[in-house]
């Protein structure tokens, strides 16, 4: 089960072109949803204004190499290792979600486009399952125990608000993907179709819901982290400088 391509068996009731077209549509939905989000919330305008303000207040001009170095440091710390989280539990859960989602997404695309009609290399279905399980582990831990609404506000973990749209649709999409794979291996066509419909519905909600969910944080959080680093480096940050790092000491 964990080493066979679940999408290859879809040919029993769907042509391979369907899933390929669906993935392209979802990529378009994420791109257009993010652009809509940036324009609607005017976050692009906000970042441009912050950048101009920071440039005007800069005490030293940064070279191109400085900017590249800051971008690399942002990538290594804030993006790849979720370094902005000060709480170790949140950081581990976020890393599980991030890398699980990347594995799950990449292996889905490879299996749908590369191996829709031929035998799949066992690595990709294994990565797909590992990614899905990582998302479920990190996501359920976050949703039921770490989520600020539960841990700090004291609300029930089952109280849902709009901020939960992203995590709930992601968890349900991944959970139904695994359930669909299990029933498909069992050979029950009706159950396979039902679970597949749930899987596709929640995946569609995840990707179409970008303008209303927290999906776009994947793009603007690194931008905000990079901007913070630039402000510290060019001296325009309004935060105090720790005594040991002040000039003349």
């Amino acid at each position: 089960m964990f080493i066979s391509n679940p999408f290859a068996e879809l040919v029993a009731f769907l042509p391979p072109l369907f899933m390929q077209a669906y993935i392209v549509l979802m990529i378009v939905a994420v791109a257009s949803g993010t652009i809509f989000d940036v324009l609607h919330k005017r976050s692009g305008e906000f970042f441009a204004r912050q950048r101009a303000k920071s440039k005007a207040a800069a005490k030293r001009q940064l070279s191109g190499m400085d900017n590249v170095s800051l971008a690399v440091r942002t990538l290594l710390k804030e993006v790849l290792t979720s370094g902005e989280f000060h709480n170790a539990r949140r950081r581990i859960s976020h890393l599980l979600l991030f890398y699980g989602f990347v594995l799950y997404l990449v292996s889905t695309i490879v299996m749908v486009f590369g191996y829709s009609t031929q035998t799949t290399v066992a690595l990709w279905p294994a990565l797909w399952n590992i990614g899905a399980l990582m998302v479920l582990a990190g996501g359920c831990w976050f949703f039921f125990f770490i989520r600020v609404d539960v841990a700090k506000e004291g609300n029930s973990p089952f109280r849902l608000v709009r901020a939960d749209l992203f995590i709930v649709s992601l968890l349900l999409s991944v959970a139904f993907a695994l359930l669909w794979e299990i029933v498909q291996t069992g050979g029950n066509l009706t159950a396979t179709i039902i679970f597949f419909i749930f899987y596709i519905s929640f995946s569609t909600l995840l990707f179409l819901g970008v303008p209303w969910s927290k999906f776009a944080h994947m793009f603007y959080k690194p931008a905000a982290a990079y901007q913070r680093r630039v402000e510290t480096a060019n001296g325009s940050s309004d935060l105090p400088t720790p005594a040991g790092r002040r000039e003349g000491r």
């Binding site: 906000f46 970042f47 600020v148 700090k152 709009r162 901020a163 309004d238 105090p240 720790p242």
Partner: protein, 153 residues
Amino acid sequence: MPTFVYMTQCDGCGQCVDICPSDIMHIDTTYRRAYNIEPNFCWECYSCVKACPMHAIDVRGYSDFAPLGHKVRVLRDEDENMIYWKIKYRDGRVKEFSFPIRTTPWGSIKSPSDYEAPGADALSSPLLAHEPTALNVDSLPTLPPKKKTGVMP
């Protein structure tokens, strides 16, 4: 001068929710970011500003007595146990100050949610929450019982 949150910097960790003595820092249901639900009731204690690990909380001066872009920013350094302040005056001068904060490590004091919730009978007790244990004493002094005063014939 109520607090406000830079939404792009906040990561919704809830430290401010825990520490706010007025219980007015809460989490927004749309973006899961912190916000001040009742700016009128903020007494500018700066607890949340200092507690925020992302430096996402700032304090807005009322324009009638703090106009022309003054600013007070805080940076908490847990490793050094220091609080750094940066004051930007209305005439453009900038001053920075450093103060030691405490002798115990940050986070070593239990948050209210770590204590057992008091029962309903605690309402009629003269003791405040978690007294006397939180004061590191066995008991608190109490007034002697009131003497009965008879009615003069």
